[in-house]
Amino acid sequence: MLVVASPYINWSALWKICVAALIGGAGVVIVFGILLLGVKIANNAKSGGREWAGYALAGVCGLFCVAVIGAGIYAILNKPASKKPAPKKTAAALVAPSFKSSA
């Protein structure tokens, strides 16, 4: 099955996408949950130290979430289709630079 699929799958890009999706998807959900936990710890704290620890935990998690959102916006701005085209492009190059007829 893998042998058949290999010519059609860019494995190098695939694993990078999977890792990025795990960090940006599942990672953010978990870290956001820990952020909420930090806020709860801070709100229920009976001592000043525990309150600060809760806020610090929430702050670190918040920074991670903001960083992931920043990475997402960076990906939007720097996707291949967003990059400036090389000068003197022809219509053919614009449409299909890598076209090879299968005929």
């Binding site: 059609y8 998807g25 978990i30 949950g33 909420l36 959102i69 996707k79 614009l94 890598s98």
Partner: protein, 394 residues
């Protein structure tokens, strides 16, 4: 000069396609936020519309990514290019409306690619389609991406519910509702940068084929950018309530942690893939994310019959839009090459079909009020195991 009218029809069809793309895909970003009551339906679609509008302007320049490497360039910018693009747009738009009527989330991008391929095959020959690239850049990512999104969302949801046990229901669900708004907004922005630009590319190609803009010094005219951005934003703002209902309520009863997991996973998969040069179908990824979010909580909470309907629609999207695109070309060609009459006839038929589907849809109309869950408190959500099901349309 005979092609002036066809060019105008291509531009109108392009904007119309973007409009259908907008209301068809509103669900991708906002369905879960509406389903969990994080946002009122109308507020959700307005936020999504604004972000889609902004997204359309974000990228520095537009490459004509649609059909890139799939259809021979000489076909699209050749003598019959305008009519072919028109037939492709009509095929894609009609498919979007058919799936909207049947309340099935399907990919607008795949519909457009299918329309282009179908019209090309009928107009020229299959030799002008690069099947290897079609499989590599469209079909394989379409098969893999929902699985990746589902896996990531399932893991995220499972972990979120473990954390909720320590957090308490109210705090966790309130927090995740806020998180959902943020992740859904990111999906909306990504959608605007991807989908509005595809139509910009198609209209720009038509302008190149017509000789209005130079291929050597290619820039997308501002009016094309503005028109596409406005069309997709207006389409989004009009709210595809039928598909929002399917995505948000019929796949599984979405709770706020699940909604956040589904949207975050989808945004991550879409943006990562886009960054590595694989623009995906937002619809398929988000559907996978919602499915995964259901599986992450409880396997039997997923309505597999709805998943079956959606997967069937995905399989048939490209062939279906291709047949419609080819049919549109065939009808136009009866009146001769580059015939104004042929172009007008297929546009009139498409308009009549759209009106017919819209009229039929009024029989079992879904309104924003049907979907509003903001009155469901986070405590109720926890007790009910999700929000109460919205109207079920079969």
């Amino acid at each position: 000069m005979g092609s002036e009218l066809i060019l105008i029809l291509v531009v109108v069809a392009g904007f119309s396609f973007d409009f259908t793309n907008g209301f068809h895909d509103t669900a991708n970003a906002m369905a879960t936020s509406i389903a969990t009551g994080a946002l009122k339906p109308k507020v959700a679609v307005i936020i999504s519309a604004v972000l889609n509008f902004a997204g359309a302007f974000i990228s520095i320049s537009v490459a004509a990514t649609i059909a890139k490497g799939i259809v021979s360039p000489k076909v699209l910018v050749g003598g019959d290019g305008l009519e072919l693009v028109l037939a492709a747009l009509i095929g894609a738009m009609t498919w979007n409306l058919i799936t909207w009527y049947f309340t099935i989330p399907s990919s607008s991008s795949h519909a457009l690619i299918g329309g282009v391929v179908g019209a090309t095959i009928v107009a020229t020959a299959s030799g002008n389609v690069n099947w290897h690239n079609l499989v590599q850049t469209v079909i394989v990512p379409a098969i893999l991406s929902p699985f990746i999104a589902a896996g990531v969302a399932a893991l995220g949801t499972y972990m979120a519910y473990r954390l909720i046990r320590r957090l308490g229901q109210k705090e966790a669900r309130t927090g995740y509702r806020y998180g959902q708004i943020c992740s859904a907004s990111l999906v909306s922005l990504a959608h605007g940068t991807n989908d509005a630009q595809k139509t910009m590319g198609v209209i720009s190609l038509a302008l190149i084929a017509h000789g209005d803009i130079s291929a050597a010094h290619f820039t997308v005219p501002f009016w094309v950018k503005l028109g596409c951005a406005l069309s997709i934003a207006l389409g989004t703002a009009s709210g595809g309530w039928r598909i929002i209902n399917t995505m948000g309520n019929r796949i599984t009863n979405v709770e706020s942690p699940q909604g956040f997991a589904a949207e975050s996973s989808s945004a991550a998969v879409i943006l990562a893939s886009s960054y590595y040069g694989y623009p995906l179908s937002t619809t398929q990824v988000v559907s996978g994310g919602v499915l995964g979010a259901g599986l992450g909580k409880k396997v039997n909470s997923v309505h597999w019959n709805v998943i079956g309907q959606m997967v069937t629609a995905w399989i048939f999207t490209m062939p279906g839009a291709g047949i419609l695109g080819g049919l549109a070309w065939g009808i136009a060609d009866i009146f001769g090459a580059n015939s104004n009459v042929g172009a007008i006839v297929i546009c009139c038929l498409a308009a009549a079909g759209a009106f017919g589907l819209w009229t039929l849809a009024q029989r079992n109309k879904i309104t924003p009020q049907d979907l509003d869950r903001t009155n469901v408190s986070v405590v109720d959500e926890a007790e009910l195991g999700g929000v109460p099901p919205a109207v079920a349309v079969t």
